[in-house]
Amino acid sequence: MKSIKHHLMFILPLLAILLGIESFMVFGRVTASYGENLKKAYTILVVTRRPMTPEAFRKIDTNIDRVESVEKRSIVEQIAQGMSNASTQEILKSLPQFYTVRLNRYLSNAQIDVIKKHLTRDPNVRRVETFGQAHNANYNLYMLIRAALWMFVGFMVFTSLFLVVKQMEIWQLEHRERMQVMEILGASSVLRSGVLFRIALTDALIAALTTIGVFVFLRYGWVAGSEIDLLVRKQELFFQYKDVFVLFGIALLIVLISVVLVSRNVKEVRDV
């Protein structure tokens, strides 16, 4: 009973840390994916006198990513049906150039206004048409939730680290005697902290596996079974196999640091 309680006292804070970190990664991926979609959907229409290369656009503002020129020929050919080839050419030449410009990240309306200003300053640019960000409110809400989550996870990790430190103090008392006897009998520090390391490692594995279990369930059980189309389409965001390495890595790191700290503190009382 006592030993189960002792295990839980290390597993639970570790679990809180890992769950927090995994939630944060999931939420980060969801916001990134949402931002990506918004970015893809958003374009600015630019009308120029003479043709312009994408590089020239990017020089005007670094937020500009892909630039596509709008194909005029088919439009003109429709209007110019029955006209001579020469007049068609004439119309084509007199028409300005149209471009759709995409941005490399999701920006607020104010930031887009700045880009618009940059573009209109160029003498070659005749007209810039931007569209208000219909999704802006949504996106702001997302960012707000992310900031709140950041704070929550940060707080949770911080508190949990405190609990881990507390548990280390208990370990220190529990293992002190054995570690000191072993030291007087000439055991290396690796051997001395071996028992503690095994205990901590077991706990870390349990915590990491539980976290993985929870999120695998979320992805394949809850999300896949939910009727929410948006979630079903995005279910791969909920758990990715690389998360396994991140979680095990973090758990192992916490264990290593804890054990090293404990065995350093249980230094032999060398009576000098």
């Binding site: 005697e177 054995r178 006897v181 072993m182 007087i184 009998l185 000439g186 055991a187 290396s188 051997l191 032999e268 060398r270 009576d271 000098v272």
Partner: protein
């Protein structure tokens, strides 16, 4: 014959404190010798033994144990020296969450012996110290005298070249004491170990030659 322990004007004190427990001690203990150390309670007998296994560093003077200058010994060398010592502590220093058998073979565990070897050795030693059948018990389930014998068995488990025993029979009756003295004599006589024993009473019947040091008022002198 070579010296196992050499001191030269050695002074021992705790915490760099004013109070010097041992002052200006100069003596040599040769390989294969058996030495008894007696003296009043609090005179510094345990402290002297501690200096031999590097638990306390001389404040002044020199101390050489097994060829190592204990005033400058590296961590690595001290570790190595300790694995070749057989130390019996006045307070036993057993590991209470381990079985008796595991406690006994701790030196073998530290030396990396395999489990088979550990088990055979544990059974042999349990018999030596008359604790057959108690290998699976835990130290706190044993009487004081039995725990003391576990400590003795542990110290002898890896045939040390130097045995440092602090009151190894302090808690034992006549019969058990004789068992321990036999083991010590044997370790010295048959296995060639050097033995330093702190005791308040030298056994009346002792079959091998020995030396006798007395610690008093911080000084050490030998009785001839």
């Amino acid at each position: 014959m070579s010296n196992v322990i050499t001191t030269n004007r050695m002074t021992l004190a705790y915490d760099k404190g004013e109070k010097e427990i041992i002052r200006n001690a100069t003596f040599r203990i040769k390989k294969g010798e058996f030495v008894f150390i007696t003296g009043p309670s609090g005179s510094g007998k345990s402290t002297l033994l501690k200096s031999f296994y590097g638990q306390i560093i001389p404040k002044q003077g020199d101390l050489v144990v097994g060829g190592l200058e204990m005033t400058h010994v590296s961590k690595k060398n001290l570790q190595k020296l300790r694995t070749h010592l057989g130390i019996i502590f006045q307070d036993y220093k057993l590991i209470n969450e381990w079985t008796v058998a595991k406690n006994i073979v701790l030196p073998l565990i530290i030396a990396g012996y395999n489990v088979d070897m550990q088990q055979t050795q544990a059974q042999r030693l349990l018999k030596h110290v008359k604790l057959e059948g108690k290998g699976d018990m835990y130290p706190l389930q044993l009487s004081g005298g039995e725990q003391q014998r576990v400590g003795v068995a542990r110290a002898l488990s890896k045939t040390p070249f130097l045995i440092l025993a602090d009151e190894p029979t302090g808690n034992l009756d006549e019969y058990s004491s004789n068992v321990i003295w036999d083991l010590m004599e044997n370790a010295c006589d048959q296995l060639g170990a050097t033995v330093v024993v702190v005791t308040h009473r030298i056994p009346t019947i002792f079959n091998i030659p020995y030396r006798h040091f007395i610690i008093e008022n911080g000084g050490i002198h030998e009785v001839h």
